[in-house]
């Protein structure tokens, strides 16, 4: 209790605390999104337009090949369903806190409420979100899909998620974030606390599909135990006002591994500040960070950070940025830090335009310049993300085709 009170006090004090990076949004400019909504039992009963919005971020309304589905509209849970209930448990955080006494030990433990104004307001609003648990030793064959949707204009959405993959379990999660058609301005604040226990594997894919005046401030920390594996795929290809994210993976057990793939396109008017941080706190831990970003006129800041605090650590950071317009900016900021002797951390960063030679190589084979650029861009962004539905692939292809046209 004492704890909670002091946390609350700290959070209140942090309400005016700007984040270290990114445009400083004024929380008062946005109405707090509604905590009430009607429950949608069957997602296929939604309008065709809403279903398309879901599909475009990898959420399949008919829930085919999904072990569970969770949808949050504004600040309220509008749908929860589980098909593979032996392998995954899925409910809202508020329900989970009521059901299990131990969930509080996982709540606001990795992300500090007073980190900045965004975490503070999310904490103080007692935000809802999803709770996913993969019980020890269980391997779900299909991913859980979760969707965080802003459905009203000029609101701020606050979300708090917890994922626990217990010992030896395996789980795939796809999280799609989007706005309903017509919602142009808004703020999305999303706290995610992820626990990968001993020998467990989590494959986490996040697709962002925002609108031109949306500010996005995810705050994610992942805790990986011995021999655990955490794979993160992050994709944001559509226009947005500002995304600033710096997910941090703590490799806390011997032999833990993480791979973080980030793919982003900054359109004119967009600012993508995409970071990834790995802290190696246990021996023989490994990490691969891959960032592939494109600017067609917006600003990209690709941060990659690896901090080695234990022996036998290996990490590689690859940060490639394509500039397809002279209006755009690409800034790559790799940071490597070794605090013990037996450490191998390396990075490879490159920003610039597509080599003329590559475009002409394809043109010599009969491709138009547009087709050539499209093919190179597609290859550039393809980091081999598994398990995304065909609809999303088609939508990605469409975006890439447009980028190919714009690049000329």
């Amino acid at each position: 209790m004492q704890d909670e009170l002091s946390l609350k006090k700290k959070a209140e004090e942090a309400l005016k605390k700007s984040a270290v990076y990114g445009e400083d949004f004024n929380l008062d400019d946005y109405e707090i999104a509604s905590k009430g909504t009607k429950i949608t039992k069957d997602l296929t009963s939604l309008s065709a337009e809403d279903q398309k919005t879901l599909l475009n971020v990898g959420i399949v309304p008919n829930e085919e090949n999904r072990s569970g589905t969770f949808v949050m509209l504004n600040n309220a849970v509008s749908h929860t369903s589980v098909k593979q209930d032996d392998a995954v448990e899925l409910m809202s955080i508020q329900d989970a806190l009521k059901r299990y006494d131990w969930v509080k030990d996982y709540s606001w433990k990795l992300v500090k409420p007073d980190a900045d104004k965004y975490t503070a307001t999310t904490y103080l609003q007692n935000a809802d979100g999803y709770f996913i648990r993969a019980p020890a030793g269980k391997k779900s064959t299909m991913p859980v899909q979760t969707c965080l949707l802003i459905g009203s204009k000029d609101v701020s959405q606050t979300v708090h998620n917890i994922i626990v993959v217990e010992e030896g379990a395996q789980l795939d999660v796809i999280t799609g974030c989007s706005t309903k058609t017509g919602v142009e301005k808004g703020l999305h604040l999303g706290i995610s606390e992820i626990y990968v226990k001993k020998g467990a594997t989590l494959n986490f894919t996040m697709i962002h599909n925002w609108a031109e005046q949306i500010g996005v401030r995810p705050r994610t920390v992942v805790h990986v135990e011995e021999d655990g594996t955490y794979i993160n795929n992050y994709v944001s290809l559509k226009p947005v006002r500002s995304i600033q994210t710096y997910p941090t993976v703590l490799l806390e057990g011997k032999g833990a591994f993480t791979r973080l793939n980030s793919i982003g396109v900054a359109h004119p008017g967009s600012e993508l500040d995409l970071g990834s941080k790995v802290i190696f706190n246990a021996p023989d831990t490994k990490a691969e960070l891959i960032s592939r970003t494109i600017t067609t006129g917006g600003k990209v800041i690709a941060r990659g950070e690896m901090i080695g605090n234990a022996n036998g650590v290996k990490g590689h950071l690859e940060c490639h940025g394509l500039v397809l317009s002279s209006e755009g900016t690409q800034r790559a900021i790799p940071i490597l830090e070794a605090n013990v002797e037996d450490i191998e951390l390396s990075h490879e960063a490159a920003v610039g335009r597509i080599a003329r030679e590559q475009i002409e190589y394809l043109m010599a084979r009969g491709l138009t310049e547009e087709e050539a650029v499209g093919m190179i861009v597609r290859g550039f962004l393809d980091v081999g993300i598994q398990g995304i539905p065909d609809e999303l692939k088609a939508s990605i292809d469409e975006t890439i085709a447009k980028i190919g046209e714009k690049a000329l």
């Binding site: 030679e357 590559q358 002409e360 043109m363 010599a364 491709l367 310049e369 190179i376 597609r378």
Partner: protein, 248 residues
């Protein structure tokens, strides 16, 4: 088919080709010899229209049209195709997806990929980590599927092992002749080609019509390609330069 008229080319302000005159008649397979650094590759790259090869004077006429200022794409559309000496690494572009696009014309690449032992490369990034011989096979596979009317080959046999050369040679032969054995038909229906070679090995597979020797960015002479090769093998290019000097 192809007429190169008084072509002078600069790379980065440096003159690389100097007043080149050279023709390839329809159905002819002509060969380009010359020492390292002579400008052979530069000539082929210029013909295809790659950036960096600046035509200072002269013209390139292809199928009766002046293509000197056309884009690479337009030249390819007109039926010009090339196997370059050093193609770029195409990170992210899978050989399969490239072939899928090239074969829009309906040709099937799987069979030829098998013949050239390239099936296991289909899902790899084009040229990335390919060995010298693998690059040649991959280039030839793409070019055969593209099936251009006039083929520019830059040392197609270099770096290819003795076993693969047979595959490669006969694939080139098929590409150039369309399988037709009759010399008269070949002349009328076969493709035109301009082929760079040092060893002349490719001549075992291609019925070459004319040879040219390029030295210091100039065409020194032309003649029977086999006789020229024999001469080069015995006397080298030194004679060539002397000969040209006598000429002048």
């Amino acid at each position: 088919m192809l007429e190169i008229q008084n072509l002078t080319v600069e790379i980065g302000g440096r003159r690389i080709l100097n007043g080149i005159n050279l023709n390839v008649e329809a159905g002819f397979k002509n060969v380009l010899f010359g020492p390292n650094g002579a400008g052979k590759s530069a000539l082929l790259m210029t013909l295809m229209g790659f950036t960096g090869y600046k035509v200072v004077t002269g013209k390139i006429i292809f199928k009766g049209e002046d293509i000197t200022n056309m884009s690479v794409y337009e030249r390819a559309q007109m039926g010009l195709g090339i196997m370059t000496q050093r193609p770029p690494n195409m990170s992210g572009v899978k050989l399969r997806s490239l072939l899928d696009v090239i074969s829009k014309n309906g040709s099937n690449y799987i069979e030829l990929a098998e013949t050239l032992d390239m099936v296991r490369f289909l899902d790899r990034d084009v040229n990335v980590g390919f060995s010298g011989g693998e690059i040649k096979r991959s280039e030839l596979l793409q070019l055969s599927i593209q099936n251009p009317d006039m083929v520019l080959l830059d040392e197609p046999e270099s770096g290819v092992d003795l076993v693969s050369i047979e595959q490669l040679g006969s694939t080139i032969k098929n590409l150039l002749t369309g399988g037709s054995k009759c010399a008269g038909k070949r002349r009328r229906h076969g493709k035109s080609a301009l082929i760079i070679t040092h060893t002349g090995q490719v001549l075992d597979y291609v019925d070459a019509d004319r040879g040219f020797i390029l030295c210091n960015g100039r065409v020194m002479c032309s003649g029977n390609p086999r006789e020229m090769l024999d001469d080069i093998k015995t006397k080298g290019y030194v004679e060539c330069v002397k000969c040209k000097m006598n000429y002048l």
